[in-house]
Symmetry: C2
Subunit: 205 residues, 2 copies
């Protein structure tokens, strides 16, 4: 498997290239991608070579060719189904987040302890956690977003993994323990913001 | 200024130690912190030495001493005021996010183009963007969260910086350009989730 840093860079390229395409460009040079992303031109060229994207005869690359190659890499021709645990503030924002659609990511179901939330009309059906094995099986999902409070996050995480989940994006402010075969990405909103605060205060002095 | 990696590790230690404290521990050894955080015991000891936290005579550390040192490092005795741009799904989740309070982070005001949102009752007052200079000045804020759509993010970002903002946490899916004196942290929800999907699919094969 390629490194996490490599896949991250591909996502960064895609974001910048989609933007450049929107403003009307069709071709780019590696140094332009470098300027947009902050990644060195040499590394851009290396990554594109690894993606098997060829430059044009006069130099530069076609934006569409790169975008296709990146989309292929991520298997973006299929729809990626995801379940969500926790319909609190963050969970509801995730369900309503329109950008997932453009990436062919679909939240197919959510879980919440609260029966009131199970009855309410959201953009996705909300089930009690007991339904987890059925839903994961029915939709053949292997990725989950955890947006439950810290105190229940590990229990929910263990449960999801038992049901066959192998990839987790975690918003709960805890260090979740997962077996080796499970990939976890922690989105630490507090930590991120605190880092920004810390750095912006220091640069003041 | 210390490295970003170092401040990130301190936040990771704090999270784990707060948890260990909650479950009843008062003292820890570096290898226990290592086991909880996935950071090597040697690096844990180095970081604690840099924080000027001393070990106990019989080995190990007092959890409270470490937590105090980390809180001091982040200046957590003062309240950190932050403004928010964009009261969409993500923005509202940020305003309602309870964990910020524990970290002495306070969202003092939000900005949104939509006059309906300016009239609505949220936990923070919502102003038109034109009020930005006044609000930033009045509350002496230098950190902002950007949660506006991609197409307006750069304009909003430039405006905030003009008003004196020096630290930005950005949720908009664009590579924002900021001057050197501004610290920016990008929270790429789509990219994060796509990485999880990518890795969990690959481990399947």
């Amino acid at each position: 498997m390629e490194s996490t840093a490599y896949t991250k860079r591909l996502l960064t390229y895609r974001l910048s290239l989609s933007h450049l395409k929107e403003v009307g460009l069709t071709d780019v040079f590696s140094y332009l991608i470098a300027g947009e992303t902050g990644i060195s031109a040499a590394l851009v060229r290396k990554d594109l070579a690894q993606l098997k994207v060829k430059g044009k005869r006069r130099g530069g690359y076609e934006i569409d060719v790169i975008l296709d190659a990146i989309n292929n890499y991520f298997g973006d021709n299929t729809i990626n189904r995801v379940v969500l645990a926790g319909m609190g503030n963050i969970g509801r924002a995730i369900v309503n987040y329109k950008n997932f659609e453009n990436r062919r990511i679909k939240i197919v179901a959510a879980f919440d302890l609260d029966p009131a939330k199970q009855r309410k009309k959201y953009d996705v059906p909300v089930y009690p956690m007991e339904k987890c094995p059925d839903i994961v099986d029915k939709y053949r999902v292997n990725v989950a977003v955890i947006a439950v409070p810290a105190f229940s996050a590990q229990t929910v995480c263990d449960r999801l993994i038992q049901c066959g989940i192998r990839g987790i994006m975690n918003f709960a402010p805890v260090n979740l323990k997962v077996p080796d075969h499970v990939y976890i990405s922690n989105v630490r909103l507090c930590d991120e913001l605190q880092q920004v605060i810390y750095h912006s205060t220091k640069t003041n002095q």
